[in-house]
């Protein structure tokens, strides 16, 4: 009996101390972690629409309005799709005229050195200034103006398709 009690007490004490120290660490780091996540999102938005001063969330996690002094100058859309080896999440900036002002990949797990190049400026800079109908791979669509990355057609096509789809949906008035 006293043996069983001793097991209980020791385990209880060890877990109690562990829980207490974790609660302390959590409260010490919680704000920094949340703040970083917020800053990171804002930074990504500023990359896709550098002119804007502030971003107002219109549809949570899907659509933001970019404003300068209260005037809407563009929109940021979230695009997600299935890539070659996992989900690809990205942000697409649209300027007032409906042309792409920038694309930035937030999350991806594509093959390092091949598909992962979709995060590089070499690929993403191609989207700049393109109209919706031009956002397609050259090899897939005669109107397309995007060059696929060598040996990473699937990843290139997935991201390009996702960007095209959110712009089309937005322009057709489909609620994101």
């Amino acid at each position: 009996m006293s043996g069983a009690l001793r097991l209980l007490i020791v385990l209880f004490l060890v877990c109690g101390i562990a829980a207490g120290s974790l609660a302390f660490v959590n409260s010490a780091t919680k704000e920094r972690i949340a703040e970083f996540a917020r800053l990171e999102k804002i930074e990504a938005m500023q990359k896709v629409l550098p002119r804007a001063e502030e971003f107002i969330e219109v549809s949570p996690g899907k659509l933001w309005e970019a404003r300068i002094g209260g005037e809407v100058v563009g929109r940021v859309l979230a695009a997600s799709t299935q890539g070659y080896s996992g989900p690809i999440e990205s942000l697409v900036g649209l300027d007032g005229a409906g042309a792409v002002s920038g694309v930035r990949v937030l999350v991806q797990t594509e093959t390092p050195g091949l598909g992962a190049k979709i995060t590089g400026q070499g690929f993403l800079a191609q989207f700049q200034g393109k109209k919706a109908e031009e956002v397609a791979l050259k090899r897939d669509d005669p109107a397309g103006k995007i060059d696929a990355i060598t040996a990473a057609t699937i990843s290139s096509r997935a991201l390009t398709g996702a960007v095209r789809k959110v712009i089309d949906d937005y322009q057709k008035g489909v609620q994101p």
Binding site: R6, V14, A18, L22, V25, N26, I33, G113
Partner: protein, 214 residues
């Protein structure tokens, strides 16, 4: 006279013993090349030198702290519940390091991803707690933890440097090879880790193990 003479050799002996606990983890009982535990993290986090070194540091913190605490509590811990107690201790330190990395080195934390929380099930940490720290004093366990950590961090960083150099042409993110270098992509893909670890084990066997020249 004789009463004074006794403590000195004991202390000296104790120092050499502690020294041995420290150095054994680096060569003779290297956690990756000899004990061959914790290879999952080694394979997954050695695609670049920076990631590998970061993993080594996170591992070092957990390894040393958990060894010391396990050595402290093992005297009062009944045998039947030692595994739950050790796991609680280890996972507490892992969670601390995970939160700290998320808060202070968010980019490194992002690229190591799930492998920081997975240090909980890293067999080296558990293995040293069970095989060493629970049966030895605090000082010896601390030395063992430091030695194992140096051995682990050194080898995983070496693997990271080799894989990043061959697979991406850079070391710690700096381009060191001429621009015309065509990287061997396979080295930053999972099979590359096995190749590099295999070669390092062969080299280690050849130079550091008795009878290894066969």
């Amino acid at each position: 006279m004789s009463t004074e003479a006794i403590p000195i050799p004991v202390a000296a002996k104790e120092r050499t013993r502690l020294g041995k606990e420290l150095t054994k983890g680096i060569i003779v009982e290297n956690p990756i090349l000899i004990i061959m535990l914790g290879l999952c993290a080694t394979l997954a986090c050695s695609t670049s030198a920076t990631d590998a070194f970061g993993m080594g540091l996170a591992f070092t913190f957990v390894m040393i702290c958990s060894n010391v605490v396990v050595a402290l509590v093992s005297k009062i811990t009944p045998h039947q519940i030692r595994i739950p107690v050790f796991i609680t201790v280890i996972s507490t330190f892992v969670t601390i390091v995970d939160y700290a990395m998320k808060a202070y080195t968010p980019l490194l934390s992002r690229s190591l991803g799930v492998f920081v929380p997975l240090i909980v099930v890293n067999c080296i940490v558990m293995g040293r707690a069970e095989a060493f720290a629970s049966r030895n004093g605090v000082a010896a366990s601390f030395m063992d933890g430091v030695g194992m950590s140096i051995g682990f961090t050194f080898i995983i960083t070496l693997i990271g440097v080799i894989r990043e150099l061959l697979g991406n042409g850079t070391v710690f993110g700096l381009g060191v090879l001429p621009a015309g270098y065509q990287p061997f992509l396979i080295f930053i893909l999972p099979p590359g880790a096995f190749l590099v670890i295999g070669f390092l084990m062969a080299v280690h066997k050849k130079f550091f193990q008795k009878g290894g020249a066969r």
